[in-house]
Symmetry: C2
Subunit: 424 residues, 2 copies
C-alpha cells in the first residue's frame, strides 16, 4: 500500500459558530489512524462554495486523500457536490438508486418531496456512489485518474456518516491495501496514566509491529496493540506475546479487552461467583448504580440501590448509626463502612459499595473541634464482600462532575479487586 496522506475537511457553518462540537473529525481521525493512514490536517469551513474550493485546493496540495463531512443536506447539496465536481472537472449526473432511496424515505416519513430532493440524487460523473441507509443524502468517492487524488464526501449527521463509513468507506480503504491492521485494546484501572506510561515508555519506543499506544479516560488507561499483517492469524500471532507481556506486568490492573467495560466485567464476576450487589450513594447520588446497569446482565446481580443524600436517609434507609454520623460526620471512613454494611444487610446481598464525599464546588468543612479539614474532592468508598468491610480514601482535584465520575470508576474497580482477592 502506498503511504496515504489524508486530511479531514468538515463543512458546516454550525461548527464555526460553535453550535456543535466536531465529533466527526475525531471519529474519522481515529478510524484512519487504525487503518494506518496518516492524518496531517483537519479543517473546518462554512457552507460557502468559494471557501470550499480554496479548502480543496489547499488540502490536495498537501494530501492524497481528503475526506469531507457535511454540506450534503437538501438545502446545501447543490453547493458542496457541485463545487467538488467542478474541482475534478466532472459534470453532475443523476443516480437512480440514490433517487429511489430518497423518494422511499421521504414517503415513509410522510414528508413532502421537493425539487431539492431530486437534486440530492445528483452525483459527480464517474464517482463511486455511497448510499445512505440512515438518511437521504448519498455520499461518493471520486478519484482523479491522472493524479490518484481521491475525495470522499460523506453526510454531516454523525449517525449517517458513521454508518456510511462502516458500510462503504472502511472496506474501500482496506481494498487499497494488501496488508491489514488489527488492534486489541487492553483496559487498565488502578494505576494512573503517567505510571503506566513510565513503565512502558521503553517498550512503546522499541515496538514497531505491533505498536503499543496508551489512551487515558476518567480513571481508566487503555493500551492499544496494533499489528500490521497479511491475515488475521498473522496479526494475532504478533499481538499475543505483547498482550501476554502486559498482562504479566500489570496483573489484575488489566480488567478487560476491547468491548469490555468496568461494569460489564464486574457484573460477570458477580455472576460467576453467584453474588449480588447493592449500592449506597451520597455524593454520587445514583450515578454508580446508573452506570452499573449499563452492563449486559446487570439485572441478574443487582436489585436495590440506595441514594442516601442526607444523614437521616443514611440512618433510616440503611441503618447507619446516629452516633457514627454525629461523631465522625457523613464524610468519613466510619460512615462509608456502615453504609456498605447497611446496604448489604438491607438489600440482603453478599456485596455492597458505598460512596460518601464532597464533590464540590462548595461543601468543604474547615477544621474544627480538633477534627481535620474536609476539603472539596475528599471521597470515602466503603466495600462489603462476604462480611469483610474496608474503606478507601481519595482526594480528587477536578470539577464536581469529574470528581463524581472518578468516584464511580474507583468504586466499580475497588469491588472488582476485592472479589478477585477473596476468590483467588
Amino acid at each position: 500500500m502506498r503511504e496515504y496522506k489524508a486530511e479531514i475537511l468538515s463543512i458546516g457553518t454550525e461548527i464555526l459558530l460553535g453550535n456543535i462540537v466536531n465529533t466527526n473529525a475525531q471519529y474519522l481521525s481515529r478510524e484512519l489512524a487504525s487503518e494506518g493512514i496518516l492524518v496531517y490536517h483537519q479543517s473546518v469551513v462554512g457552507d460557502n462554495p468559494g471557501r470550499l474550493e480554496e479548502a480543496l485546493e489547499e488540502g490536495f496540495a498537501r494530501a492524497d486523500l481528503v475526506i469531507s463531512t457535511g454540506g450534503l443536506g437538501p438545502t446545501t447539496d447543490d453547493l458542496s457536490k457541485e463545487t467538488a465536481a467542478r474541482f475534478f472537472g466532472r459534470k453532475m449526473v443523476r443516480d437512480e438508486k440514490a433517487l429511489a432511496n430518497i423518494l422511499e424515505r421521504m414517503t415513509h416519513m410522510k414528508r413532502e418531496i421537493t425539487p431539492n430532493n431530486y437534486k440530492q440524487a445528483d452525483l459527480p460523473e464517474g464517482c463511486i456512489p455511497l448510499y445512505n441507509h440512515n438518511g437521504t443524502a448519498p455520499g461518493f468517492i471520486l478519484t482523479d485518474e491522472d493524479t490518484g487524488k481521491t475525495l470522499i464526501m460523506l453526510p454531516g449527521p454523525p449517525a449517517e456518516m458513521t454508518l456510511m463509513y462502516e458500510e462503504s468507506v472502511r472496506p474501500y480503504l482496506k481494498s487499497l491495501s494488501d496488508e491489514m491492521l488489527v488492534s486489541r485494546t487492553l483496559h487498565l484501572c488502578g494505576m494512573g496514566e503517567s505510571g503506566v506510561e513510565h513503565r512502558l515508555r521503553k517498550r512503546m519506543d522499541e515496538l514497531q509491529n505491533p505498536t503499543l499506544a496508551p489512551y487515558a479516560k476518567t480513571g481508566i488507561v487503555d493500551l492499544r496493540i496494533t499489528a500490521k499483517a497479511h491475515s488475521e492469524e498473522e496479526a494475532e500471532e504478533l499481538i499475543r506475546p505483547v498482550e501476554q507481556e502486559i498482562r504479566e506486568q500489570f496483573g489484575d490492573i488489566v480488567f478487560g479487552t476491547d468491548d469490555d467495560t468496568l461494569e460489564s466485567v464486574l457484573a460477570s464476576l458477580l455472576k460467576e461467583h453467584s453474588l449480588k450487589v447493592a449500592f449506597a450513594e451520597s455524593c454520587t447520588a445514583g450515578l454508580l448504580a446508573g452506570r452499573f446497569v449499563n452492563a449486559p446482565g446487570a439485572s441478574r446481580v443487582f436489585e436495590q440501590g440506595f441514594v442516601t443524600y442526607s444523614n437521616e436517609a443514611k440512618h433510616l434507609m440503611i441503618g447507619v448509626s446516629e452516633e457514627t454520623l454525629a461523631e465522625y460526620g457523613a464524610v468519613s471512613p466510619q460512615t462509608a463502612a456502615e453504609m456498605a454494611e447497611g446496604a448489604a444487610r438491607t438489600a440482603n446481598t453478599q456485596t455492597a459499595v458505598s460512596v460518601t464525599g464532597i464533590a464540590g464546588p462548595g461543601g468543604a468543612v474547615p477544621a474544627h473541634d480538633g477534627k481535620p479539614e474536609k476539603p472539596v474532592g475528599l471521597v470515602y468508598i466503603g466495600y462489603y464482600v462476604n462480611g469483610q468491610v474496608d474503606t478507601e480514601e481519595y482526594r480528587f482535584h477536578g470539577t464536581r462532575a469529574s470528581n463524581r465520575d472518578n468516584s464511580v470508576v474507583r468504586a466499580l474497580n475497588g469491588l472488582r479487586m476485592r472479589i478477585l482477592q477473596q476468590y483467588k
Copy 2:
C-alpha cells in the same frame, strides 16, 4: 470596531490521531461568535514546527486574528512559541512573573523542576503575557504593529484554556470595540426543537438587533437573544421586549434563563413551597437523582432516592403491590403510579417522581396473552404531588443513553409543571 475575521488553530497530534475531540475549537468559536467576531476557518495541525508555520501563513492570509490552543506543554513549548516568535520577527525573552508562577506550582505539587520549566517562561518579545492560573504554561497576545495581525496562543488543556480566556482574552477582545454584545438565553422544555423553530421562524428572520437563535440539547431548547449596544443598559432595553414576547408565547415552557438548569429551577420551586422530593428509578437506575443533586441547595429538598431495578425491589423498597407487577408488568402506568406513591410514602415527602421503562438496546416485550407489545424506548413516568398521582407515557427512539437522558429531562420537567399547576 473593525470587522475582525478570526481563525482557530488547534495544535496537537492527539487531535489528529482522534484520541481527543476538539472541544477547545467549539468553545472558542462560540465565544467569538458571542463577541460578534466572525470565524471563517478552524484547523488542526500536529506538534510540528514546519506545518505550524504553514498554518500561520495560511491563517493570516485569510484572517486578522488567529487564536491557537495547545503546543505549550513542557516538552513542546520550544516549538510552537518559537515558531510564532520567528513568524512575527521577535526574539524570545524570559517572563519573570510567568517563571515565578511555574516554580511555585511545581514546588506546590512536589514535582521536580527541569530546564524545560524555565523555557516555559520564555515568551516573544513585546507580547502581552497571559498568566496561567490553572497550570504552568503561560499564553500570550502578539500583535504586528504594521499589519495589525494578532496571534493569541493559549494552552491546550481545556481547564487552563477556558480560565485564561475568561480572565484575559475576553476582556482584551471587548477592549477592541466600543460596542458590546449582550446575550440572554431562555431555556425551554416541553416542546420539540422543530415546534419552537416553526413558531419563531418568521421572528428569527425579522429580528436584526437583538438577534434570536435556537440551540437544541437533549429535551431542551435554548433561545439566545443577542443585542449589540454601547452599554449594558441599552442592550437590556433591546432584549427585554423580545424576552417578554417569547415568555408570553411559550408560557411555562420557558423554565429559566442563562445559568438556570432544569434541576436548579425545580429545586428552587420545591424550596419555595416547602416541599421535599423522592425519586424511584428503574431504567434510569439513579441518573435522575444523580442529576437533581447538581442543583445548588438540592440537599434542602432531597434526602432519599430508591433504585428499584427488580420487581422484588419495587415491592420491598417502596411497596409496589405484587398484583400490579404480575398483572401489568414493571413497565406500565400502574407500576409507575405505585412507584411514585410508594416513594413519597416511604421517604415521607410531599412529592415524588418515578421512572420505569425499556431503555434498550434489548428488553422489548412482544405482545402476548392479549397484552400489547412493549417496545424499546417505552418509558412511563409517575408523579406524586400532595396526594395527586398521574403518569406520562413516552416512546423514545434513540440509543440506550439518550433514552435514559431524555427520561431524566422529562421527569424533572414533568414535576416542575405539576407543581406550577397546583400552586397557580
